[in-house]
Amino acid sequence: MVIVKRKELSLMERLFLPEIVRALSHSFRAIFQPKITRQYPEEGLPTNEVTRGQPRLTLLEDNETLACVSCGLCEVACPAYAITIDGQETDRFIEREPERFEIDMLRCILCGFCEEACPKDAIFMSDELELADFTRAALVYDIDKLKRPKAALQKRIDYFYKVNDRWRKSSSTS
């Protein structure tokens, strides 16, 4: 059994008023504290390379062709079945490219499995977090909405390699 001993109140405390005045002065001083509000739509959310935002497709250095070869590993890895890929042949030296690459952002759970599954550094989690539109169809992103120049994702790519260095080295066959 727990016996809670009540604190003996002194006369000043039992009078209420001095304590109330003390509390009031406390909240009065709080008025002059610096404000912690973030003015959200104007002031963005703080992000860095650790932020696991929405997945984006990287472009190669020419900023035109996708790094993706439509192998379908991310499609398989995706636990939410958010990714749909149709591949096609191309004249490029890597021979294949996606004809259709869609991520249903309403299904995407931002887990980052696609990023880990990708053997070609073609998909990375960006720091883009905002997701809003008026129709569901508009939130199924196609290649045009997903592709990003590599420079925009470079910080995330560097970070990705840094944290994954150990297992990459140990599992490396070379």
Binding site: L24, H26, S27, P34
Partner: protein
């Protein structure tokens, strides 16, 4: 029958004072949100107009466009009457508060208060006592258990604290020998230490605490008491009827702050400047009143709500005996001629 110029001046005064009071009430809704935000290290409403100053107007427009719901089992007449009864007494009380001394409008010499009643302290108490009807009728006519409980609690609370408040006023009346608010103010003219707050500190504290209970403000807001009673007496109200309750509450706050100023802080008297022009007096009155209005806000966002039995215990076992003793002491001193005349 006064001539037409005097009549017009009276109408102008009435319009200005009521308009000013409604403006203060609207401003208080914004101030409440702003101060609460500052105390919690937030910024508060800042989207409508510069620094959110047009927020009350936006709120008002929103209230007008809300759907009005009258519950099926509610008493249709009283349900509609209650918000008016809640708002009107507060607005009536403002009529006798002397906001400034003599003023001359269009050649008519008059005072800056709507009505000059020589028993205005009595009038204030009488009309202020009507405020409870709006709350209890609103609670009862909604035919909802939460509303009814809120209304019952509010009426019990307002009746008990009214006693202490009236007794606090009584000691001021005994001291200044007049029921006229203007004479009570005139009795505090001169230096700062002529204010009643120094000669009647106990009455001041009692009156201040009672005003919080009378206006149903924190820490005595048992009429609403969200965690226990959903919304209290106005649970079933919506749209402009709901807004009227709040208008009444904020007007009552303004009136109570004005009365505290009038009774204890020398009203519109400017210290050390006996014949100040009317606008300086009005400014002094506004400054003193806004001090108490700010106190209302500060207390609301500082103190937790009392328990209902604590409220009743404080009202009947602490405040009432103290107020009675204070009246007795003041009366004894007055009969010994301490306060002159």
């Amino acid at each position: 029958m006064p001539d037409s110029t005097t009549l017009l001046v009276w109408l102008l005064k009435a319009g200005l004072i009521y308009g000013g009071m409604l403006g203060v009430a609207a401003g208080m809704t914004l101030a409440e949100r702003k101060v609460s935000a500052w105390i919690q290290w937030r910024i508060g409403p800042n989207r409508v107009g510069p620094f959110g100053t047009l927020q009350p107007i936006a709120d008002g427009i929103k209230f007008f466009f809300k759907e009005e719901v009258v519950p099926r089992d509610a008493n249709p007449v009283l349900f509609r009457l209650a918000p008016m009864l809640a708002a009107v007494p507060a607005m009536l009380t403002v009529a006798v508060i002397p906001f400034a001394g003599d003023i001359s409008i269009a050649g008519v010499q008059t005072t800056l208060s709507i009505a000059d009643i020589d028993m205005s302290a009595l009038y204030v108490v009488a009309i202020g006592g009507l405020g409870v009807y709006g709350v209890i009728l609103g609670g009862w006519s909604s035919n909802s258990k939460y509303s009814l409980l809120g209304g019952l609690r509010a009426s019990a609370q307002m009746v008990s604290y009214e006693l202490s408040m009236i007794l606090a006023i009584l000691s001021i009346v005994v001291m200044s020998g007049s029921l006229d608010l203007r004479e009570i103010v005139a009795g505090q003219a001169g230096a700062i230490w002529q204010w009643n707050i120094w000669s009647q500190p106990l009455a001041f504290v009692l009156f201040l605490v009672a005003t919080f209970a009378e206006t149903n403000r924190h820490p005595f807001d048992f009429a609403e008491c969200e965690p226990e009673l959903v919304g209290g007496f106005h649970t079933e109200y919506s749209s402009m009827k709901f807004a009227l309750f709040f208008l009444g509450e904020y007007c009552a706050m303004f009136v109570m702050a004005s009365l505290t100023t009038t009774f204890f802080l020398g009203g519109s008297e400017v210290p050390f400047w006996a014949d100040a022009p009317w606008f300086v007096q009005l400014g002094a009155f506004a400054a003193k009143t806004s001090l108490f209005l700010f106190l209302f806000l500060l207390v609301r966002w500082t103190l937790p709500r009392f328990r209902f039995d604590q409220l009743m215990a404080i009202g009947w076992k602490v405040m009432l005996p103290l107020a009675l003793a204070n009246v007795f002491l003041t009366g004894a001193l007055a009969s010994l001629g301490v306060y002159g005349s």
